[in-house]
Amino acid sequence: MRPLDWWVLIGSLVFVVLYGMWRSRGTDSMNKYVLAGKTIPWYAMAFSIMATQASAITFISTTGQSYVDGMRFVQFYFGLPLAMVILSATAVPIFHRANVYTAYEYLERRFDAKTRALVSVIFLIQRGLANGIALCATAIVLTMILGWADQLTILIMGSLAILYTTTGGAKAVAWTEFPQMIVMFLGLIVALLTAVWMFPGDVGFVDAVSVAGAAGKLRAVVFNFDWSDRYNLWSGLLGGMFVALAYFGCDQSQVQRYLTGKSVAQSRLSLLFNGVAKVPMQFLILFIGAVIFAFYNFEKPPVLFQQDDLRRIQATKADYAPVARRYDAAFQERRQAAREIIAARRNGDGEAKARGVARYQQAHRQFEAARGEAIALAKKTSGEGSFNDTNYIFLTFVTCYLPAGVVGLVMAAIFAAAMSTISSEINSLATVTVIDLYQRHFRKRASEGHYLKVAKAATVFWGLYAMVTAELGKNLGALIEAVNILGSLFYGGLLGVFVLAFFVKRVGGTAAFVGVIAGEAAIFATARFTNISFLWYNVIGCLVVIAAALAVSLIEGRPARLSDSDKLKTVLKKSCTD
């Protein structure tokens, strides 16, 4: 980081925080603090929804994912637009009509107080821990690049997010996420353009893309269905839709974003815009990873991107030297083959291109094999069973090759991504704490000012909790996987109870309560006693909640009553024809 980078980074951080605080001045009631007075326009809500979802580690990991595994990860997001349409037609009008502060407040209207309390506590446990782990993961990666103590990175990100979230509540969150999202987009586009500009003079953009294609990095859509293959079109459409339904329909950190709109139409537009923009945005991020891969065909990449591990294996001179020699030789061969492909492409010589591709793919396999040997050496020297340096690929490229100013902008984008997620989450955690627990169970009648003070105190508490958890979370190992597994342990139960609330009219409070407990028990049993991938926990949990609740309601012999499933039919009919 050079002086210009620091100016860009600090300037953007200060601007974003001050802008959010200025836009949220006059936040003097719970309605304004929790729902921004329902004044946020759809485009700001849409950016807020996207910024909440785009955490820093997603930003960093996705480019690395593409470098290693190609662009097929984009398929994971294909289910998101489907979920946005379903939620716009169902959850949005229901939540607006119920006039609630939280999604879980609606559950008491539909079921009873105990179901609402149970789901609220599940949310607080899951989201509270996930927030800390995500903060920790970001801090570890940035610390490695910036050379700070990780505590300092956690302190800066956490304190700034607490500052504007406590001051301005949901309004500050929405209006800071708007410029934060712009900074993220700007950072991505500038990083892409600069990466293209950094190619050797005789290698054009299309040349580089052809080389990435020869390595199979640009195959974004896979039609073959395979249970063992996590990313294909069908798992993306179905599995991705389930994940998005649970996250955007049941997680207060997202529900609260689109409840800040003044009308159903505004909230719907924000979700639908998210559905339109998210897939191209992920494609762009993945494409940057593919372009960086192409760049490293002409500039030798480090054998490991994680500097500590690299230094450790370099210290084992006798073991490392032959690996390094094979790695260098494979890189030279691959570079020659890449140039052969480019020359053949320019000459329009199909046969020569096919020969070049075959040579390139052979060299690429040798190159990967040499890197595999280095990874095995890293595992041996560290004594750990797993190794993953995917998160360091993008930042290594940024800090080693991008010019002054651009590095600061990319760092600002990563900080913006981290802070936008943290602020939304502590805002929603504080809201659930006050609305669903404190006001409902501990202090039912108090002044507006009292609840506002408690909400601000809860915001500070959850911010500090995230920072402490982040510090403790350093020992959790694979942090991204930890976040995903943690979410999957709870989302199935949440999704199941909302499906019951919206669509199954005969199920009452006790049946829903038992259903959630059964669903969560099934998920934990699956996690403990089977090898089923955590991606399936959502589906299993949701189905068990519904089945158990239906069984209990049959035993209860509860008479059917008019519920939201009936009202929903009217809303759906109306929303599709008006």
Binding site: M30, F78, P81, L218, L272, F283, D578
Partner: protein, 48 residues
């Protein structure tokens, strides 16, 4: 808690374009289908 919560609004406000929400939903799904086709063509063009 807050007597000044906004009044309920019926979901009758039409979208700013395409006339009905049903058409807007169909357009969103059409856009997704077009993106998938585009990504597939992109991959096919550059993958030998």
């Amino acid at each position: 808690m807050d007597p000044h919560r906004p009044d309920e609004k019926e979901p009758s406000e039409p979208p700013p374009f395409l006339g009905t929400w049903g058409r807007l939903y169909a357009a969103e799904l059409g856009f997704l289908a077009a993106l998938i086709a585009l990504f597939w063509l992109f991959g096919r063009k550059f993958t030998p």
